[in-house]
């Protein structure tokens, strides 16, 4: 079975086959036998090359939260074949979370570079800069200063400059 997960903007791909002991995992060109024991809901002990590692996983069909070796990793499921599309950055800029627009620094038709700040949204006592994802032109600003916006609302659009 093929599994694709996005993490930190990169897509990781592994394939699994069931065995008596657990799984054979095909990852980065190598087949690795892995013993699997479920020790509680979402808790597994994985045996790899004689060493046992405890992993904890929770989530839904889209996002998996995994605790492993002292860190939590948020892995987003990617449908097979969608990997390339997924990496394309969108010019539709969303509010990262619910908050208030406190300053708008760009206006429509402005030419912007990658990372040029477009506006500042204040939420949870902190300021968050919304930046252009790539070099291009500001297509529209969808909010006004002082406005409250919900997380996920599109606040501005940037049109990518064709190379």
């Amino acid at each position: 079975m093929e599994h694709l997960f996005e993490f930190g903007g990169n897509v990781f791909n592994l394939a699994t086959t069931r065995t008596d002991e657990g799984l054979t995992v095909h990852y980065q060109g190598v087949d690795i036998p892995v013993s699997v024991r479920e020790v509680g809901t979402g808790m597994y002990v994985l045996g790899i090359e004689g060493r046992n590692v405890k992993v904890i996983v929770d989530g839904d069909d889209r996002t998996k939260h995994v605790f492993c070796k002292g860190d939590v990793f948020q892995l987003n499921k990617v449908a097979p074949g969608a990997a390339e599309v997924h990496k394309e950055l969108s010019g539709d800029l969303e509010a990262p979370l619910t908050g208030r627009v406190i300053q708008i620094m760009a206006s429509e038709d402005d030419e912007v570079d990658e990372k040029t700040p477009i506006m500042i949204i204040e939420a949870m006592k902190m300021e968050h800069k919304i930046r252009a994802p790539f070099k291009g032109t500001v297509g529209s600003i969808e909010v006004t200063e002082g406005e409250m916006v919900d997380g996920g609302t599109i606040v501005a659009r940037v049109e990518k400059q064709e190379e």
């Binding site: 592994l14 995992v25 597994y44 996983v57 998996k64 949870m124 902190m126 968050h128």
Partner: protein, 501 residues
């Protein structure tokens, strides 16, 4: 002691105060907003009342609603925690006027320390060292420009009512000054409704060292030594420790005396903190926080003194029965503040439901928390959700213990700053004690979270996707008991299986 105390706060600090009340046999009364109806502090308290609303303004900052509930419930005293109404002099006054006790200093002490200019003037008079600068009445731009000549460059422009970095500018040369003054004034007027500014010599590489004080209502003020809180991100403390790595016994004693003097100069009562900047062996009064501090726990860990219980005792009229001579700093304590934020995305706050919380445990590992499995972290309140506190025999022991604890802290469902905290604690400069206010910009500027997940994490995610996966051991009914043939578990299993009932 009081019989009924209302806790005007939420989150980890409300939980901390409710615990202290319950241990003292005091009936605790919680208040909460609509979103917090099932929050840990509400479920823990002996009694809870709704303020309604969601935003802080509609709930935990609504002093009229809070006072209304206090009166209806026969509250004798109100503990404000930190943040929210804790440094609101008008609220403290209203509590006093309503015949109840505000667990904190008298309202006039809050007022004096709320104005940074007034605080500095009082401290100068009391003989407490302050950072050289100008904190006088002349407020016109050209007057301040003239004063800046005497202060010298680089200097800081600060707002008298300021806090959290607002209304603050670093000025390196004279030609930047006018812009800085105007900008700081605008910011301060809009944030605090007060544009009064002052000038201060800029310290290049300072440390933030503060002294905990306790003052009773019978004229006694003592201190409980220092906390070093130099590791800050955007003016927010994130790692604190005690003792400080740089203080000599002489400076520690001198700063302790200065803090006691500072508290006495404003007629301070109850627990408070005098903050200093320290550089090259010199220390200067920065401000006084007239409330319980977030980081009070590390002082508790090295002194064995329960500061929150003493707050309740002092407010109810008890005399201090401890003093600085008999209290000792034993070992070394560190606190890490756990924030619900995404260190991979410029630390934006992360809201969501905590699907699972499994905490590190062991000797001298403490977790002060306002969250549990199933808690929702909302975007309405401060993203600091918990504090992890450890102490060890010495600093090295405490650092190792904190690294271990962070590595075994499982919080699933939201993003946290734990990877960033680990990187700080593991940094050689932290271990060496080069923990100045510039630490983050000097050593952590290029830090990036791990870019690649370990293969085991990907396998776990794949297993979650293949739900219904039953492990081979479980299907055959074999349960591994390890290799010890004399394990009591083996005996227990056979006894159980032969026993029947």
């Amino acid at each position: 002691m009081f019989e009924r105390v209302l806790i005007a706060n939420r989150g980890e600090i409300a939980v901390r105060i409710i615990k202290a009340c319950q241990e003292l046999g005091v009936h605790s009364i919680a208040i909460h907003s609509d979103v917090d109806a099932e929050a840990p502090h509400v479920l823990l308290a002996d009694e809870a009342h709704s303020l309604g609303g969601t935003t802080p303004l509609e709930s935990y900052l609504d002093t009229e609603k809070i006072l209304g509930i206090a009166k209806e419930t026969g509250t004798q005293a109100i503990h404000p925690g930190y943040g929210f109404v804790s440094e609101n002099a008008a609220f403290a006054k209203a509590v006093e006027d309503a015949g109840m006790t505000f667990i904190g200093p008298p309202s006039n002490a809050i007022e004096s320390m709320g104005s940074k200019i007034e605080a500095k003037t009082i401290m100068e008079k009391a003989g407490v060292p302050v950072i050289p600068g100008y904190h006088g009445k002349e407020q016109k731009v050209d007057q301040l420009v003239a004063r800046a000549e005497d202060v010298g460059y680089p200097l800081m422009v600060k707002a008298s009512a300021g806090g959290g970095g607002k209304g603050m500018r670093i000025v390196r040369t004279e030609d930047e000054l006018v812009d800085a003054l105007e900008g700081a004034r605008r910011e301060s007027e809009s944030a605090f409704g007060d544009g009064t500014l002052f000038l201060e010599r800029y310290l290049e590489n300072p440390r933030h060292i503060e002294i905990q004080v306790l003052a009773d209502n019978h004229g006694r003020t003592i201190h409980l030594f220092e906390r070093e809180c130099s590791i800050q991100r955007r003016h927010q403390k994130i790692v604190e420790e005690t003792p400080s790595v740089v203080l000599t016994d002489e400076t520690r004693a001198a700063m302790g005396d200065a803090a006691v003097k500072a508290a006495e100069a404003v007629g301070y009562r109850n627990a408070g903190t005098v903050e200093f900047m320290w550089e090259d062996g010199e220390y200067y009064f920065l401000e006084m926080n007239t409330r319980l501090q977030v980081e009070h726990a590390i002082t508790e860990e090295v002194t064995g003194i329960d500061i929150v219980k003493w707050q309740l005792r002092i407010a109810s009229g008890d005399k201090l029965t401890i003093d600085t001579e008999t209290v000792k700093q034993t070992g070394h304590a560190i606190e890490c503040r756990i924030y619900a934020e995404d260190p991979g995305q410029d630390f934006i706050p992360s809201s969501g439901v905590i699907q699972m919380l499994k905490l590190p445990d062991g000797l001298r590992v403490r977790h002060d928390s306002g969250i549990e499995t199933g808690s929702e972290v909302s975007s309405y309140y401060d993203p600091m959700i918990a504090k992890l506190i450890v102490s060890g025999e010495d600093r090295d022991d405490a650092i190792r213990k904190m690294c271990w604890a962070l590595n075994n802290y499982v919080a699933i469902g939201i993003k946290t700053n734990i990877p960033f905290l680990k990187a700080i604690l593991e940094h050689p400069a932290f271990v060496d004690g080069d923990t100045t206010n510039r630490f983050i910009e000097k050593y952590m500027e290029d830090w990036q979270p791990q870019a690649e997940p370990p293969m085991e994490a990907l396998i776990a995610a794949a297993l979650h996707d293949m739900r219904g996966f039953i492990s081979p051991a479980a299907t055959t009914g074999e349960v591994s008991m390890g290799s010890d043939p004399y394990s009591p578990w083996k005996t227990l299993t056979s006894w159980r299986s032969s026993g029947g009932d």
